[in-house]
Each structure stands twice: as structure tokens, then as C-alpha cells.
Symmetry: C2
């Protein structure tokens, strides 16, 4: 983005004591935390007295919600200059979170060239390579030699984020190679860039590739950045490793929270009404599913009236099989998150879960058989309980292993509400087997 | 590590068809996947015909278990040369996973200087900064000027991993500054390194800092690497961002799997007996805890015998409160994983969970009240059920929010078995309230 004149604080904007933070010595990420700790009026005061560059860098590091609140509270001229000063990917993230009116108002105040770029970036889906890429790229003509390239980088580097790599394009702007600063440092004087990348196996992604896939690629290859291209292989930007860390963090939270039906993007800082709204539909689904388990128990109400001890054992079966299934679930979901999907290996992993469930089920069922026998002195009751528990734990392992795969095969998020589906199966089937077996063996 | 002479394949080691992989064009990460797909005899053949450098790079990218199996199957001379050729952090990881005998045998065949370094690295706890750091660092004297520095880097860079940064030390090897390649490219000719880092706020970590804390710092500051120092502030090595991505991936899996009592480091590739052993203790704990819930139900067996419909409602209460609690649990655990612990903010987050649980509990309880009334036409029963559900969902929210914090305050992993603790509370308290209330209101 173009570098604008420094913003000089006016005397009446001087800092109160509360905000007398030693900003000079702070990293923007720390400054962001400091700012988040202030109330909004103090945040505005604090930002107003900072040089625009520092303000932009600090705000870029703030949490989405705090960032949005602060920008909305600043006067629009200042807000627009801060947006202008940010790296384009950070600016796009910020604008994406604002109301349409405010977004338009800020864009209209941004310098024309920056505005055009931001508008383009805003058209990309935020969950794709295009949505997270940075457009500040060092682009070199492949006909340059190494020294000319270093000189060109020296010229450009002040304006751009740390260039891990420089990208080589041909006359039609098509991406033909990538050079790390290390390659350039090592290159023999006078050698042509074209020759330096001759045998290179270039890896790039289309702008519409899912950002999690981009993160996987960067993690897989230990890259610092990955170039993003359009359908004509023209270079659009790069996704850098620092963005990938955020994506991986988000992805992990999404998995864990989606599994139990919390909002994928919830944090403890989300407005509580947002969390409420995200969780309620899954709780309602869960209560509807619970009705299935309740209905199963209802079928056997007569048996329970005759043998109330069955109601004592019911929760043990349900809880234990649910836990067994969740262990399988967690391992499968993480596997799907971390590796490229391989159908055959995935189903082999389900067999592995079944085997673990079979043996753990046998051990736990034996323990429970002994415990029930010890307490009740009823061999048949203990046997029914042990058998029901074993069957249900096996079912739990099967369900926990296969639910994420089934969701994946259906084109859904493998984690979403998987724990809810699982416990519906382990609860209802556990009750069916326990109460059904008891009816057959104990009560006739 | 010292660069050794190239390993030239002997004719009798030529590749079979099966392994005729176009290795030249493959990234080591892809080659590693190819190798993992072969059976062990073919893996050995394949590795034998590769140049040592390619073999070392590919093996470094393999999964821990595959890597260990392959190295154990190679003859020791070749294995030792591969270890020698690896980056020291990768070599240490590999040696850490081997049997003591094999580790000693390989170390004894490694060149003396490399051996000393590897032995030092092996003394660090693998879960600390020292355990994951790389010792291939470009170290510059602070009295050099920028051009001398670039010349020195050019000299050294061939031997070392991509140097994102060069580190400045004083006469006593104490870390005094860090320079990115970008800084050096931008530096005015002849300027002294000492002046370039004069006002720098240098961030480093001690070798005994937990690796997850290191990952947090790198993610927080968007660094590419973080220097690791000893107690005398002498530079020992660096942790790089590619290692951090692995740490974050592991951490996310650990959280999710530990929450439900699966092994923190389990994957679908772990030997099934390992998974069995990791999960069984938690299943046993769970079954012991289940006995508490069962005992609560047992206290009210008389009530259930009189009113078997209570057994129909029990699983609905338990499941619903358990799910509510898990939603809170997942959000809290992720929060603790992603941000530095802030006691006050954490407990405020528990209050937030309580509020969400209160309102979601009210809504779900009202729905369930209506459903029970509709089905049974019993106002009192529906009321008892609604009240018990509301109370238990509130308890679930409280427990889900606070269990990770309590574990953290006790110095434990906030995720470990938290779901098991949670469902013990929601099951037993849910049954207590439902059956107790029913006893008071319906049966007297």
C-alpha cells in the first residue's frame, strides 16, 4: 500500500496517564493486547496519538471483534488512513467484518489504487487462498541476473512485508519460478534467474482452493509462503506461513467445537448471545435425538418396573460406550484434519478402532460383570450387563470411527455434531440391548 | 552437520521397477510419502540407491514410526551416515525414538564433532525449546558491517538450513541482537550491525521453556524463528516456524484426544495395542465414576419401581446436560491452548458459560416440559423434568467451563479426561435432582 505522510498528533490529543504505555519498545502484537485492555474511549485516544504506521500495525494484530469495535469508533478519515496503511490481507480481513455502510464509507476515502486492490480482494471467499493471500509480492523478470534481482528487491522491500521469496514471471505475467532470498545469496554473480529455477518443481495453488488445504500444503512442504494463481497461471499473491498458523489454530478449534455442537469460530470473547445462537440448534437436535433413546427405554418400562436395578445399570452402559466412541471419534477427526483424505486408509483405521473397542470392551465388561456379581449376587443379571456393555462399546467404537468418514463422504464437515450422532447411537442401542436382553433372560 | 562425500550407488543396488520413482522431481516430503507406501524391504532398497543427502532429507520427513522401522532395518554404517547428514534437530528426534542400543551404535559411528553435538541435544527434554531447537544458526560478530555480514552468510549458508535470521553475539557469546535477511538487504552499505540492532527489543527463550509456549510466542509475534539461550544468555540454537506448525498440530490433537481420554499422541497409524493401553486407564476411571451415577440411581430404586417413566427421562437429562457441558468445555480448552493464561479473564469466561447455559437451559427445558406434558398429560411430572433438566444444564455449563481451569490451577493438562469428569457430574447430579425432586413432589 502507498506510504502516506506521517500523522502528527495534535497537542489536545496527548495521552492521559492511563495510556502512557511505552509504545516504542513494544511489538505490535503486544501493543494490540495493551489496547484491547483499555476501554473504547481510551482506545480511541491512544490510537489517535500514534503514528499511522504504528496504529495500523497494532490494530492489525487485534482480535476481530475488538478491531471492529475500535475502527467503528474512530472518525472515518483516520480509520480510512489506517486501513490504507495496513497490509492488504489485513485490511481486507478488517473490512470484511464491518457493516456494508462503513465498509463503503472507508473504501471511498482510500486512495484510488489501494481501493481497486481492496475491492478485488474483497471479492474472494475469505475461506479460500484468494481470501487469505497477501498481494505484496516481489515479482522479478526471469531475464534478470542475480545482482539485478538483489538490487530490485532492495528497492521494493521497504514497502512490502518481509519477502521470504521472490517470484519469477514470464512476459505474460505467468508464474514460472520462485527464488528464496537464500537462493539469491548463494547464486553465482551474474547468473540468470531463468537458469536458477530451471529444474524447479514449482508448487502453487489456485485462488479458489480452500484455505485449510493451503495450510496443509505449506505444512507438508515446510514452505514459508505459497504462491496463489488464477486459471491462467498468473500470479495473484502469496499465502504466508504466519497466516497458516492462524488457519491451523482456527481449524483445531473448529474441529473440537464442531464435534460437540458449539460454534466453529466461537471463543470466550464472542458475545454470549452469539454463542447461545450457535449452540442452541445442536442442543435442540440433541434433545430430539434423546427422544429416540427415551422411546427405547419407554418400550421396556414394564421390565424396569419389575426390576428397577436395570435403571441403575443403564447410565453405566450409555456413558461407557459413549466414552469409547468419543475416543475413536477424536482420533479419526484429527487424522482427517491433518492428512490428505485416503479412503482406503481411513476405512482401515475404522477396523483398527473396532479391534481396540473389542478388546477394551471385553476388559471393561469383565470388570463390570464382576462388580455387578459382587454387589447383587445375581449371575444372570451380571451376565446381561456385561454382554450389553460389550456390545455397546463395540458399537461405540464402530460409530466413533465411521461417523466422521460418513460425514466426509457426504461432503459435510467430519466433525460437525459428530459427538451428538454418536451418543444417540450408543444411548439408544445400549438401552435396547440391556433392557431387551434383560427381558429375554431375566423376566421370562 | 559436516557435509560428507556423496554416496554413489553400487550397480547391484539398482532399483527394481516398483521403486522406479522419479525422485529428482519430488520434494522430500512427497518422497517420504512414496517411501512410506513401500514395504520395508523395498524401502531399504530404495534408500540404498539414493544419494545420502536425498535419503536423509526424505527420511527426516517420514512419520516417527515408519522412520524408526526403516532406520532399524538399514545396516548401521548407512544409518549412521544418514543420521550424520540430517539437520541436528531431525537427527535428535530420530535418535530419541530408537532403542538405547541402536542409538549408541549409531552415535559411535557418527563423526566426533557431530556426535558431541547430538549427545548434547539428546540431553534436552524433547518437549522443551532445547528439545526442538535447531543448532544450525548463522552467528555474526556485532562489530561486522552489513557487507561483511552478507559475505559471511554467503559462506555459511550452504551448510545450514535456510537462515531466516542471523544472530549477533558479543565477545562472550551472549545474544545481543537479531537481524533478518531483509534488514541486511535494506542496510546502508558499511553500516555496523551493532547500530542496526541498537534499539531492538530482543525476544528469546530459555532452553527449558515448554515447546508449546515457544509455539505461542512465535505465533503471537509472527516470527519465523525464535532464539534459544542458556541461563547465561548464550545462544544455543533456534526454533523455526516449520517446527512450530508441527507443535501446533500436535497440541490440537492432544487437546481433543486428551479430553475424552485417548492418548495425546495417538494417530490412526499408532499400533492398536498402544492405543488400547493409552485408553484403557481412562475407561476404567470412567467406569468407576459411572458407579457414582449408578449409586445415585440406586438410592432411588424405590421411586423408579413406582414410576418407571423416570427411567425414560433419566437419559434425556444426562445426555442434554453432558452436551451443554461439552460445548463449554471445548471452547474453554481451546482458549487455554491459544492464549496466554489470564486467570481473571478465564473466570469471567466461566461466568459467560453460565449465562449461556442458563438461557439455553431455559429454552430446552421449556421445550422438554411441553413435550412431556403433551405425551403424559401430567403437569407435575413435566415440571419436575423441566426443572431437573434446567438445573443440570446449568451445572453442565458451570462444570464444562471450570473443569479445565481447575485442572490448570492444579498444574495439570486442562484437557486431560475433562469430558470424563464432566459427564460424571452431569450424570450423577442430573439423576439426583430428577429422582430426588420426583420423590418429593410426585410420590409423597
Amino acid at each position: 500500500m502507498s506510504v502516506k505522510e506521517e500523522y502528527t498528533p495534535r497537542p489536545d490529543e496527548e495521552l492521559d496517564d492511563m495510556a502512557a504505555v511505552d509504545f516504542e519498545s513494544q511489538h505490535p502484537a503486544d501493543a494490540a493486547e495493551t489496547i484491547e485492555g483499555l476501554d473504547i474511549a481510551d482506545q480511541v485516544k491512544f490510537i489517535k496519538q500514534l503514528p499511522i504506521k504504528d496504529a495500523a500495525e497494532s490494530i492489525a494484530e487485534m482480535d476481530d471483534l475488538d478491531q471492529k469495535a475500535l475502527i467503528s469508533s474512530l472518525n472515518r478519515g483516520l480509520a480510512a488512513r489506517i486501513v490504507e496503511e495496513m497490509a492488504p490481507d489485513d485490511a481486507t480481513d478488517l473490512l470484511d467484518g464491518l457493516s456494508d455502510d462503513l465498509q463503503k464509507a472507508l473504501l471511498s476515502r482510500v486512495a484510488a489504487e489501494d481501493r481497486a486492490e481492496l475491492k478485488t480482494l474483497l471479492t474472494f471467499d475469505p475461506d479460500t487462498a484468494g481470501g487469505v493471500m497477501n498481494t505484496e509480492v516481489v515479482i522479478l523478470d526471469q531475464d534478470l541476473n542475480a545482482d539485478e534481482a538483489v538490487a530490485k528487491i532492495r528497492e521494493e522491500v521497504e514497502d512490502k512485508e518481509i519477502p521470504y521469496y521472490a517470484y519469477l514471471v514470464d512476459k505474460k505475467d505467468r508464474l514460472v519460478g520462485v527464488l528464496s532470498l537464500r537462493d539469491l545469496l548463494l547464486a553465482k554473480r551474474g547468473s540468470h534467474l531463468r537458469d536458477l529455477v530451471k529444474t524447479q518443481n514449482l508448487i502453487s495453488v489456485g485462488y479458489n482452493v480452500d484455505k485449510e488445504e493451503v495450510a496443509h500444503l505449506i505444512a507438508h512442504y515446510n514452505f514459508l509462503a505459497l504462491p496463489v494463481v488464477d486459471f491462467g497461471n498468473r500470479l495473484l499473491g502469496v499465502v504466508t506461513v504466519d497466516d497458516v498458523i492462524d488457519i491451523i489454530h482456527e481449524e483445531a478449534s473448529e474441529d473440537m467445537q464442531a464435534m460437540v455442537g458449539a460454534g466453529a469460530d466461537e471463543t470466550t470473547d464472542s458475545p454470549w448471545l452469539y454463542s447461545l445462537r450457535m449452540r442452541l440448534p445442536w442442543l435442540i437436535l440433541n434433545v430430539i435425538f434423546s427422544a429416540v433413546s427415551a422411546w427405547v427405554v419407554h418400550l421396556f418400562e414394564g421390565n424396569i418396573a419389575q426390576m428397577a436395578v436395570l435403571a441403575v445399570l443403564m447410565p453405566v452402559v450409555a456413558n461407557q460406550a459413549g466414552n469409547t466412541g468419543q475416543q475413536a471419534l477424536a482420533v479419526m477427526i484429527r487424522q482427517l484434519a491433518m492428512e490428505r483424505f485416503d479412503r482406503k486408509r481411513a476405512w482401515i483405521a475404522v477396523l483398527r478402532e473396532l479391534r481396540i473397542g473389542f478388546v477394551n470392551g471385553m476388559i471393561i465388561s469383565t470388570l463390570v460383570f464382576c462388580a455387578v456379581l459382587l454387589v447383587t449376587h445375581k449371575v444372570l443379571l451380571a451376565s446381561v450387563m456385561g454382554a450389553a456393555l460389550w456390545v455397546d462399546m463395540l458399537l461405540g467404537a464402530l460409530a466413533g470411527g465411521s461417523i466422521p468418514l460418513l460425514l466426509k463422504e457426504l461432503g459435510r464437515d467430519p466433525a460437525q455434531a459428530s459427538s451428538i450422532f454418536l451418543t444417540t447411537i450408543t444411548d439408544s442401542m445400549g438401552f435396547l440391548v440391556l433392557l431387551g436382553l434383560a427381558g429375554l433372560v431375566l423376566l421370562h
